[in-house]
Subunit: 288 residues, 2 copies
């Protein structure tokens, strides 16, 4: 194994991994080497570019900590996270499309009854969410567990607001006998991904903005069905066509319908204009 | 730019980089996205594998510091460093093949006259190096600057020996009117690359060893010629076929010829057996 040239070195390196005991790891290393060498042969990096790349990757590792994962952010802005999500969620007709979990989910959000106000007093335009959970044939699923979380009217999650409890704008609910769930909240806002690190520098160097269009996150599970992790995006948002992390799918954009002051669907009253989101979530059976 | 699927997301991400002002950066990002997505489509990573990859990369960044660059080590064991070296050094006939600089070069090594003993008293088998520097037509190059550095008989460089000065087994010399240079040293030993970090863990998981065959480093420059950075490997070393960083080329393997006690080429005497390395280095004109 020597005297390889620019072409044959790839096979030499792949061969060095031939003794990997785990067949899956062997496959991954062999494929990684082929694609990485292909990239290098295509761009022919100079030593200065190679050095810049290692410096970038080192900084990406060093800024990461318990609360920040810059390599996942890098995967997000390169479309890698959504590609992996797509590969792992090939959905049948009738099942809602998926998105990545994102960094702002928190386990053990408050358990709320349907109709609850999950805003915890955070200011914003009143939003009434009216959801339903069904199987791919449209049959309602009772007793589904719904986990919901979202940004506030300025684009921040509670975990980004040190002064706020970790129960603002997030909740766990349960669908009723008709598969329905409903709650009050506020309209979320668009927000930038963290852009004070290497990934932010990369976005600036490439004239890309760090914004994500406004959305509400949902994670929905029911016995016998795959867990659904998705976003519902606010129709009309200026960043729908350029989400920094490539998360938008047309089927996940919904009208957050502007309503005049008056009665809400649950019979309560609003003295201010409010908005309504109605969305049906389709779960995929676990066996398919 | 939404509603991309597993295939079309690649073009969507490439398009997001279309506004990159620097044309070279634009090319690199577009190629990177294509090859990275191709890798992901080929191996179809699970979320657990994706998480393991980000954890590995983060650890690789976090163990790096002023004295240790684990991403370069990673590039080394994946053959990436030698591929980039090959791309940047397409050599004409008559020019010596190149290798990577490696992490153990130190600027400002001691200036030595030809015939000097560069071992600084470090124990080992006496080695007499007898080199020459020529152009691709074989014409001797006088006044070439030669920088040489090597491991000791246990495989360590002086920089890895805190108790030792930074002038053991390294030197700068100059070729004479006939293009020749010569010095005394000791025979270098094979050594493992640093394997106490993520790269070492990867080598163990893939049943690869961390060893490099014994070698002496040379960096040679002369006005009007490209700087040559190379290794000369000890023929017969057990790791020549499996260098952990893919640095071996047949043209760079030389006999370190075993000699009986007696006269050395410079007229001095050795009471012990000694070894002789004779090697001719060909420089590439700067303009080609």
């Amino acid at each position: 194994m020597r005297d390889f040239d620019e072409q044959t070195i790839t096979n030499a390196v792949q061969t060095s991994f031939a003794g990997t005991p785990d067949a899956r790891l062997r496959q991954i290393m062999s494929s990684l080497v082929a694609h990485m060498h292909g990239f290098i042969r295509e761009v022919e990096p100079s030593f200065e570019e190679f050095q810049a790349a290692t410096k970038f990757l080192t900084a990406t590792g060093q800024i990461s900590n318990q609360r920040r994962q810059e390599f996942i952010l890098l995967a997000d802005v390169l479309g890698v996270s959504m590609l992996i999500d797509a590969i792992n969620h090939r959905m049948p007709d009738g099942a809602t499309e998926t998105t990545v979990l994102g960094p702002f989910h928190v386990a053990d959000a408050p358990l709320c009854a349907n109709g609850a106000d999950i805003s915890a007093g955070v200011a914003g335009e009143l939003l009434f969410v009216d959801g339903s959970v069904v199987d791919p044939q449209g049959t309602p699923l009772a007793g589904a567990a719904i986990d919901v979380w979202q940004s506030d009217a300025e684009g921040f999650y509670d975990v980004q607001r040190p002064e706020r409890s970790l129960s603002a704008l997030r909740a766990r609910l349960c669908s009723d006998a008709a598969g329905r769930f409903w709650f009050r909240s506020i309209v979320p806002a668009a927000y930038p991904i963290p852009d004070d690190g290497p990934v932010g520098a990369m976005l600036r160097a490439t004239n890309r903005h760090p914004w994500r269009p406004a959305h509400v996150h949902f994670m929905i599970s029911a016995p016998g069905y795959q867990m659904l992790v998705t976003h519902v995006f606010v129709a009309g948002d200026q960043y729908l066509e350029s989400d920094a992390v490539f998360g938008v799918k047309t089927s996940l954009i919904a009208d957050f319908v502007a309503m005049p002051p008056g009665a809400l669907p649950d019979g309560s009253e609003s003295a201010q204009p409010w908005r309504q989101l109605s969305y049906q979530f389709g779960l995929k059976p676990a066996s398919t």
